[in-house]
Amino acid sequence: MLRFAFKRLVSLGLSLVVASVVIFLFVEVVPGDPAAYMLGLNATEETLAALREQLGLSGTLAERYLSWVGGMLRGDFGTSYTYRTPVSEMIADRMWISLPLAIYALTLSTLIAFPAGIWAASKRGSAADVSVMGLTQLGVAIPNFWFAMLMVLVFAINLRWFSAGGFAGWEAGVYPAMKSLTLPAIALALPQASILARVMRSSLLDTLSEDFIRTARAKGLTKRQALWRHALRNALIPVLTIIGLQFSFLLAGAIIIENVFFLPGLGRLVFQAISARDLIVVESVVMLLVFAVIVVNFAVDIAYAAVDPRLRVRG
C-alpha cells in the first residue's frame, strides 16, 4: 500500500509540474508584450516598465517560471493588476463561496443519487426503475444554468422562498449563508446526481449478478439482505471514481452557476479578470482549480486502493 501511495505521489507531483508549465507557457504566448496587452493602447512607457517589473517579466523564461512557482509555493500569487491587491487574498475571500458551494452540491448529489440508484436497481424493470431512469435522462440533458434560471423564476420570483441572487455572507450566520447557496447547489447537483444514480444502478446490477451474491442467497439471505450486506460495498468502487471526477465538474460548473446567482466566488472573479485582461488573476485561479482537480483524483486513487486491495498491484 505504501509503495502504491508513493508511486501515485510521484505521478501527482509530475502532473502538477507539467500542468503548471502548460499554464505558464500559455500565458507567455500572449502575442507581443503581456504588459502592453494588459494595459491596452494608451499605456505610457513608465507604466509599462512598472508592470513588466511587477509581472516578473525581466529575466529568462526559466527564471520567470521558477519565480512564479516559487511564489505560489509560499502562498504568494502575485498582485492583481486591476485590483492592486494580492491575488492570494482575493482568492482566499472568494474561495469561501466556491468551495462550500461545490461541497454542498457534491453532498446533495450523493444524497439524491445513492437512494435513487439503489432503489432503481433493487426494483429492476419495474415502473419505479423506468421512471428513475427517465428522470436521470432528463437530468443529464438539462443545462444546469438554465435549470438554475427556472428555479429562480419559481422559487425566488414567484414563491419568494429564496432570494434571486447574491450572497448573505458567512458573518450573517450559517443559516442565511447556506440558504443563499441552496438554489445554486441544487442546480449544480442535479446533472451530477443523474449521472451518479445511473452509475450506482448499473454497478449494483453488475454486482448483484455475481457468484458471491448467489452464494449469499443460497445461504438463505433475502434479496434485500444480500444487497445491503454484500452487493453495496462492492458496487461502490466505480461510484467512488465518478464522485472524484465529478468534483472537477462541480468546481468548473460552479464558475457558471455563480454567474446566474451573482455569487461573488472564484467564477465571478475569473470573468471579471478576463474582461479586465488581468492575466495574473486568470493564471492563478486556473492553476488553483487544476491543482484541486489533480489532488482530488489522487485522493480518489488512494481511497480506491484502500477499499480494493486488488488495485494496488496495478500501480
Binding site: 505521478s11 509530475l14 502532473s15 507539467v18 500542468a19 502548460v22 499554464i23 500559455f26 500565458v27 504566448v29 500572449v30 435522462q137 432528463l138 443529464v140 440533458a141 438539462i142 443545462p143 444554468f145 438554465w146 434560471m149 427556472l150 429562480v152 423564476l153 420570483i157 472537477s248 465538474f249 468546481l251 468548473a252 460548473g253 464558475i255 457558471i256 454567474n259 446566474v260 475569473v270 470573468f271 479578470a273 478576463i274 485582461r277 492575466l279 486568470v282 486556473v286 482549480l289 487544476v290 482537480v293 489533480i294 483524483n297
Partner: protein
C-alpha cells in the same frame, strides 16, 4: 445479419427512434434556417418587444422585438457546427493516438500518450476555454478549440481500450503473420472494428458539446453577437426573466431537447450495435 434485420431492430428501438426524431428536428431547423426563417433575426422591432407567444411569433419576441423561433433556428446552426467540429477534432486527433498507444502497448509512446491524456483530463473544458479567451479573446472558434481539446483524450482512451482487446484476436495474429505492419493492421483491422463504439461515443460527445457551447456562450466566452446562439439568448433573457419568462424557456427547451435526443440516440445505437443485447431483445 441482413440489412432489413438491422433496420427492423433499429425501428423497434423506442429510444433510438425518439432520439433520432428529436435530433432530426433540430438538424432540419438549422438546415432550413439557411433558406428561410419566419423573421429576419437581425431586424429589431422595438414596439413588439418581449411579446409572449402569439400568431406571428409562435415563440414570442425578445427584448429587441426579434422573433425567438427564428433565433432558435439560426442558433441551432451555431450549436451544431461548434459541437460537430469539436467532436471532429477529438476523433481526428484522439483515434490515431489511441491506435498508436494500443499498437505499442507499454512502450514510451503509450506512456506519453496516456499521461498526456491524464493531463488534459485535469483541465475541464471550461478552464481551457477560460485560458484561451483570456489570451486570444472570446469567439465561437475558441469555444470549438476548447471543447475539441477536451474531446481528444476521450476518444484516445476509448480507442486504446477497445484496440487492446482486438490486438489479441486471431485475425490480427493472422495479419501479423502475413507480414502487415502495425500501422496497416491498426487501420485495416482494428479501426473498422472500433467504429461502432466511436459512433456511439461520438453521439454522446456531440450532446456534451452542445451543452458546453451553450454554457460558454452563456458566460460570454463563446459565440459573439450578432451570431445567434442558444446560450447567449439565455444570458440575454436572465435579467428579464420575471417579465418575459418565455425568453428563457424556449431556448433552454431547445438545448434540453437536442441533448436529450442525442443521448437517447446514443443509448439506442449502443444497444443496437451490441449483438448480445439485440438478440435478447428479439
Amino acid at each position: 445479419m441482413t440489412e432489413t434485420g438491422f433496420l427492423g431492430a433499429a425501428l423497434r428501438s423506442r429510444s433510438l427512434v425518439l432520439g433520432a426524431v428529436l435530433t432530426a428536428v433540430f438538424v432540419l431547423a438549422a438546415v432550413v434556417s439557411f433558406l428561410w426563417v419566419p423573421h429576419d433575426v437581425t431586424a429589431m422591432d422595438i414596439p413588439n418587444r418581449m411579446k409572449g407567444p402569439e400568431g406571428a411569433h409562435p415563440l414570442g419576441t425578445d427584448h429587441f422585438g426579434r422573433d425567438i423561433l427564428s433565433m432558435i433556428m439560426v442558433g441551432a446552426r451555431t450549436s451544431i457546427a461548434v459541437a460537430v467540429v469539436a467532436v471532429g477534432i477529438g476523433m481526428v486527433l484522439g483515434v490515431p493516438l489511441g491506435l498508436a498507444a494500443a499498437a505499442r502497448k507499454g512502450s514510451l509512446l503509450d506512456e506519453v500518450i496516456m499521461r498526456g491524456n491524464d493531463l488534459v483530463f485535469a483541465f475541464p473544458s471550461l478552464l481551457i476555454a477560460i485560458m484561451i479567451t483570456a489570451v486570444f479573446g472570446a469567439s465561437a472558434l475558441n469555444a470549438i478549440i476548447a471543447i475539441g481539446i477536451f474531446n481528444i483524450p476521450v476518444f484516445a482512451r476509448l480507442t486504446r481500450g477497445a484496440a487492446l482487446s482486438l490486438w489479441t484476436r486471431d485475425y490480427v495474429m493472422a495479419a501479423r503473420v502475413a507480414g502487415k505492419g502495425a500501422t496497416r493492421i491498426s487501420f485495416e483491422h482494428i479501426l473498422p472494428n472500433v467504429t461502432n463504439l466511436l459512433i456511439v461515443q461520438g453521439t454522446i460527445q456531440f450532446s456534451l458539446g452542445i451543452l458546453a457551447e451553450a454554457a460558454l456562450s452563456y458566460v460570454g466566452l463563446g459565440a459573439q453577437p450578432p451570431l445567434p446562439s442558444w446560450g447567449r439568448m439565455l444570458a440575454d433573457s436572465q435579467t428579464m426573466i420575471s417579465i418575459a419568462p418565455h425568453m428563457a424557456i424556449f431556448p433552454g427547451l431547445a438545448i434540453l431537447l437536442t441533448v436529450l435526443g442525442l443521448n437517447l440516440m446514443g443509448d439506442g445505437l449502443r444497444d443496437l450495435f451490441d449483438p448480445k443485447i439485440r438478440r435478447v431483445g428479439r
